[in-house]
């Protein structure tokens, strides 16, 4: 791992560390920059609470896990109730993920990659209620994907690198890298 002075000067393409290799402070300051340094953005708070939750199980001592888990639960419920952004800590979230706007955002995914853009009213989850949150029935969003408002990505599908999902599209099948999909159910648009 490069030391701090080197890592800060690294361009994005070279800095390939995963979110787990960064310290909480580093990842939060990177998120703050990704949100244009606007600390009142609801999405920034949702991501920050998620960063805390994702690190509860890696707390330095087991004694801290109880209070940290409780703090996360309180903050998570507050973000969920006030802004309607539901980002559970079981979802793996990459670096610089940006959630634009707020309201009816449910992100129950297997993983969300780096630099993903998510808009309001987006639903990531399983197709049927009875499927619940079984990981193999939840979507995987790869790096750099962009999701329009009102879109639903349901089931154990894979959204490829840099794919674009149009507004209100319903994605039920895997999307190749770089493709643009649109419609209900979603179809791949010709380039």
């Amino acid at each position: 791992m490069p030391d701090r002075a080197v890592s800060e000067s690294l361009p994005r393409s070279i800095d390939r560390r995963t979110v787990d290799e960064l310290s909480l402070l580093e990842v939060l300051s990177e998120d703050f920059d990704a949100y244009g340094r606007h600390w009142v953005e609801p999405g920034l708070w949702a991501v920050a609470v998620h960063r805390l939750g994702a690190r509860v199980d890696r707390a330095p001592t087991p004694l801290l896990r109880g209070p940290l888990g409780l703090a996360h639960k309180v903050l998570f419920t507050t973000v969920d109730w006030i802004w309607g952004i539901h980002l559970p800590r079981t979802t793996q979230v990459g670096r610089r993920v940006r959630i634009w706007h707020n309201g009816s955002i449910f992100l129950n995914a297997r993983s969300i990659g780096n630099d993903v853009q998510i808009r309001h009213d987006t639903t990531l989850g399983s197709v049927r209620m009875k499927d619940g949150a079984r990981p193999e029935l939840l979507p995987t969003i790869e790096d750099g994907a962009e999701i329009g408002s009102g879109a639903c990505i349901l089931g154990g599908v894979n959204l490829g690198r840099g794919a674009v999902v149009g507004a209100n599209a319903v994605v039920l099948q895997s999307v190749p890298a770089g493709a643009t999909v649109f419609g209900v159910p979603a179809k791949i648009m010709p380039k």
């Binding site: 419920t77 109730w81 006030i82 309607g84 539901h86 309201g103 009816s104 449910f106 009213d121 639903t123 989850g125 197709v127 049927r128 209620m129 009102g150 639903c152 349901l154 209100n168 599209a169 319903v170 419609g183 209900v184 159910p185």
Partner: protein, 188 residues
């Protein structure tokens, strides 16, 4: 569920307790709590409880005796809309084990909803045109995906599944599976 009412029949006036009759009040509350996996933080549980409360108070016949409960119900109803965006008026009949998957932009104005119905967030159930009474009815064991809209005087048959972001504007036979705009039938 009773037979499907006529499209322009008057709406239930809400002057009777419309909760399911085959179960006691506390047992109904306990059953709703179990439906939401015993999670007291589930917004849907509180929205349904406020709906049930709006009906329970109508069992108190003298209006002056009911007044405090009415004030409390109306405050709670507006509170649920403001905090979670769930609009569930009390004069709509809702069956047992009704489940709201998530909260946010849920507006439900149906004539009647059956038992074991699941509705996700951003769902609209209601009118096509205002100043009409053409509300839908929803059968038993129906599941409605996120963002769907069910509009007009239609009946959604038992065991149907409505996919995400689907607009339903016609009757669905039992065990239908629909999806898309415009809506089309999927193989069950």
């Amino acid at each position: 569920m009773s037979p499907v009412p006529a499209p322009d029949a008057p709406l239930p006036t809400g002057d009777v307790n419309g909760n399911p009759r085959d179960i006691g009040s506390l047992a109904l509350l306990a059953e709703d709590f179990r439906t939401y996996d015993r999670d007291p933080l589930a917004a849907g549980f509180w929205a349904v409880t406020v709906h049930r409360m709006g009906n329970w108070r109508m069992a108190i016949k003298p209006k002056w005796l009911r007044a405090p409960a009415t004030v409390a119900y109306r405050a709670a109803y507006r509170g649920v809309i403001a905090l979670w965006g769930i609009d569930l008026p009390y004069n709509m009949r809702i069956g047992r084990r009704f489940r709201l998957g998530h909260h946010g932009c849920v507006h439900i104005g149906a004539r009647e909803i059956g038992d074991d119905v699941t509705i996700q967030h951003s769902v609209t159930v209601g009118l096509i045109r205002h100043n009409t009474l053409r509300f839908p009815t929803i059968g038993n064991r129906v599941e409605i995906g996120p963002g769907a809209a069910i509009v007009g005087s239609i009946h959604v048959g038992d065991d149907s599944f409505v996919g995400a972001n689907t607009v339903v504007g016609r009757d669905l036979l039992p065990a239908s599976k629909v999806m898309g705009i415009p809506m089309r039938f999927e193989k069950p």
